[in-house]
C-alpha cells in the first residue's frame, strides 16, 4: 500500500477502489422501468416546447392584442416573399434567454429554429452566444448567427420577457383558472386554485412554471406538459381581454420592451406568424444540452450539419433531428393544472 501514487492503479488501494465501484455498480436499478418509459415516450424536449410556446406567446400576444388595436394602418402586411428574422427573448440583465431564427416562407408557412447558446470558435473552443447581444450588440450577433447557420439575417426583434407581464397589465389583467393550487420552487411564486387574474410580475412565473410531469394528449403520442397548458391558458385569457386593451398602453409596452433593427415591420411579422398556415418549431440538433463548462474541448458544435439542418428546415424538408412540438390551441378557456 505504501508507494501507491497518483498514477498507480495496481496497489491495494486501487484494488479496493475497483472492488468498491463494482459493488456500488451492483446496486444498479432494474432496467425495465427505463425501457418502459423509453418505449412509451416520444418525449418532449422541454426547452424546445418552452421556446416554441414562447415564440407563440410573442406572436399571438402581438396578434391578439396589438394587431387589432393598432392595425389601423393601410399598408398591407409584408408580401409573399421569404423573410428571415432573428427573435430574441431577453432577461432583465439583457442576457439572451431565447434565441430563435424564424423563416417566413413565401408559401405562407413559417419555421422557427431555436439556436444553441454557445458558439464554436475556429480552434474548437466555444463562447457564449447568449452573451453576444448584451456584450457586443445586435450587429455582431447577426454576424455570428450567419456564421453558425449559413443564413444571412438582416432583421431582428428583441423582446424583454417582462413584456408579458406588462401586456397582461395593458389589458387589465388576464383571467386564468387553475384546478389546484401550485407552488413553483424555482420562482417561489404560488398560485391558488380557481379563477383569478394575473398580471405584472406574476405572469412569467405562471408561464414558466416547471414540473416534471409529462401528460400526453388523448392520442398518447404528442406530449402536452402542464406548462404548455398554462401558456395556452394565459394566451386564451389574453385574447379574451383583447377588446379591453388600452392601445396606448400596448404601444407603450412595445416601445419599452421591443427593440428591432429599425427596418423590421413588427406588426407585419406578428401578423405573418399568427396567420401562418403552419409553424414548425425545432431546436438545432447539435448536442448542446450539456453544461457550459464542458465547452473547453468537451463539446463539439458541428457547423456543417447545423447549416444543413437549418437549410433543410427552411426549405420545408423533414428532418429526423427533432420532434414537433404540439400546436398551441387557444379555442376556449378552461381550467388547467
Amino acid at each position: 500500500m505504501t508507494g501507491d501514487t497518483t498514477g498507480d492503479t495496481t496497489g491495494r488501494t486501487g484494488q479496493l477502489i475497483r472492488e468498491a465501484f463494482a459493488a456500488e455498480a451492483d446496486q444498479a436499478p432494474d432496467s425495465r422501468a427505463i425501457l418502459a418509459e423509453l418505449s412509451r415516450a416520444r418525449p418532449p424536449r422541454r426547452r424546445t416546447a418552452l421556446v416554441a410556446a414562447t415564440v407563440a406567446v410573442v406572436a399571438v400576444a402581438l396578434a391578439a392584442v396589438a394587431v387589432p388595436t393598432l392595425l389601423h394602418r393601410n399598408t398591407p402586411a409584408a408580401g409573399p416573399q421569404d423573410q428571415d428574422v432573428l427573435l430574441l427573448g431577453l432577461d432583465r440583465s439583457k442576457k439572451t434567454e431565447l434565441l430563435m431564427l424564424a423563416h417566413l416562407d413565401g408559401d405562407g408557412t413559417a419555421s422557427v429554429v431555436s439556436l444553441p447558446d454557445i458558439m464554436p470558435r475556429g480552434d474548437g473552443s466555444t463562447y457564449a452566444l447568449n452573451e453576444v447581444y448584451r456584450a457586443f450588440g445586435p450587429d455582431r450577433l447577426l454576424q455570428d448567427v450567419a456564421k453558425l447557420t449559413g443564413v444571412r439575417v438582416e432583421h431582428y426583434a428583441a423582446l424583454d420577457l417582462d413584456a408579458f407581464g406588462d401586456l397582461a397589465a395593458a389589458v387589465g389583467g388576464v383571467p386564468v383558472c387553475l384546478r389546484k393550487a401550485t407552488k413553483d420552487p424555482d420562482s417561489g411564486v404560488s398560485f391558488p386554485a380557481g379563477t383569478h387574474t394575473i398580471t405584472g410580475a406574476k405572469v412569467l412565473p405562471f408561464i414558466r412554471q416547471k414540473d416534471d410531469v409529462r401528460p400526453y394528449r388523448d392520442d398518447d403520442t404528442v406530449p402536452y406538459p402542464y406548462f404548455v397548458q398554462r401558456q395556452e391558458a394565459f394566451l386564451t385569457g389574453l385574447a379574451s381581454k383583447a377588446g379591453d386593451a388600452d392601445p396606448e398602453a400596448v404601444l407603450d409596452v412595445l416601445g419599452k420592451h421591443l427593440r428591432t433593427d429599425g427596418e423590421l415591420d413588427v406588426l407585419g411579422l406578428a401578423e405573418r406568424i399568427a396567420t401562418a398556415k403552419g409553424v414548425r418549431f425545432i431546436e438545432v440538433d447539435a448536442g448542446l444540452d450539456m453544461p457550459m463548462d464542458t465547452g473547453r474541448g468537451g463539446t463539439v458544435i458541428p457547423l456543417v450539419p447545423v447549416r444543413a439542418f437549418v437549410q433543410d428546415m427552411f426549405a420545408g424538408k423533414a428532418h429526423p433531428g427533432g420532434p414537433r412540438t404540439p400546436e398551441l390551441k387557444f379555442s376556449k378557456q378552461r381550467c388547467v393544472y
Partner: protein, 168 residues
C-alpha cells in the same frame, strides 16, 4: 432509426446503469439520470450513432448530467449491501473481512466531491487515461491529476490502521 436506438439500449442499458450507479452512489438518481439522458439521446440518435463511439458519447452525457445535477444532492449514504448484511449475519466477527473493508471504501467514495468521484471512477472503473478523463470532464489534464490525487489522499487517509494491520 428507432429500431437501432432500441437495439443500442437493449444492448447497453445495464452497463450504463451500472456506470451511473457507481458514479452517483444512488440507484434512484442513477435511474433518473440515465432515463433523462436516453430520452434526449433518442431524439438525436441519427447524429449520435454516426459518431465513432456512441456509447462513450452517451456516457459523457450521463457524466455531465450528473455533474450538473442541482436538484438533488448526491446521496451521502450507502445502502446496506448484501456484503454487510452477510457479515452481520456471520457469527464470527472478522475485522479483516474483505466486504467490510470494501464497504468502508464505498462510504469514503460516496463522500467525495462529485468531480473527484467522477475522476476516480473514470480512472479505476473505466481505466481512462488523464487525457481521456480531461476530455470527458471538460477540464485540463493537470486538473484531473489534482482531482485524483486529492481523492486518493482522502480515500487513503481514512483507512483505519487496524484494518491495515489486519491485512499485513
Amino acid at each position: 432509426m428507432r429500431d437501432r436506438f432500441e437495439a443500442f439500449v437493449t444492448d447497453r442499458l445495464d452497463r450504463l446503469l451500472r456506470y451511473a450507479t457507481a458514479l452517483t452512489c444512488d440507484a434512484h438518481l442513477a435511474q433518473d439520470v440515465v432515463q433523462d439522458v436516453l430520452l434526449r439521446a433518442q431524439h438525436r440518435w441519427a447524429r449520435i450513432e454516426s459518431m465513432q463511439a456512441p456509447e462513450a458519447y452517451v456516457k459523457r452525457m450521463i457524466t455531465n448530467e450528473y455533474l450538473s445535477w442541482r436538484r438533488r444532492r448526491a446521496a451521502r449514504t450507502v445502502a446496506s449491501t448484501h456484503g454487510t448484511l452477510d457479515a452481520l449475519g456471520t457469527p464470527v466477527a472478522d475485522p479483516a473481512n474483505a466486504h467490510a473493508e470494501r464497504d468502508a471504501m464505498r462510504h469514503r467514495i460516496a463522500r467525495l466531491p462529485r468531480k473527484q468521484r467522477a475522476a476516480i471512477l473514470l480512472r479505476y472503473y473505466e481505466d481512462c487515461t488523464d487525457a481521456e478523463i480531461a476530455d470527458l470532464l471538460g477540464c485540463k489534464a493537470a486538473t484531473v491529476r489534482s482531482h485524483i490525487s486529492r481523492a486518493l489522499a482522502t480515500l487513503r487517509t481514512d483507512e483505519s490502521p487496524s484494518l491495515k494491520e489486519a491485512m499485513t
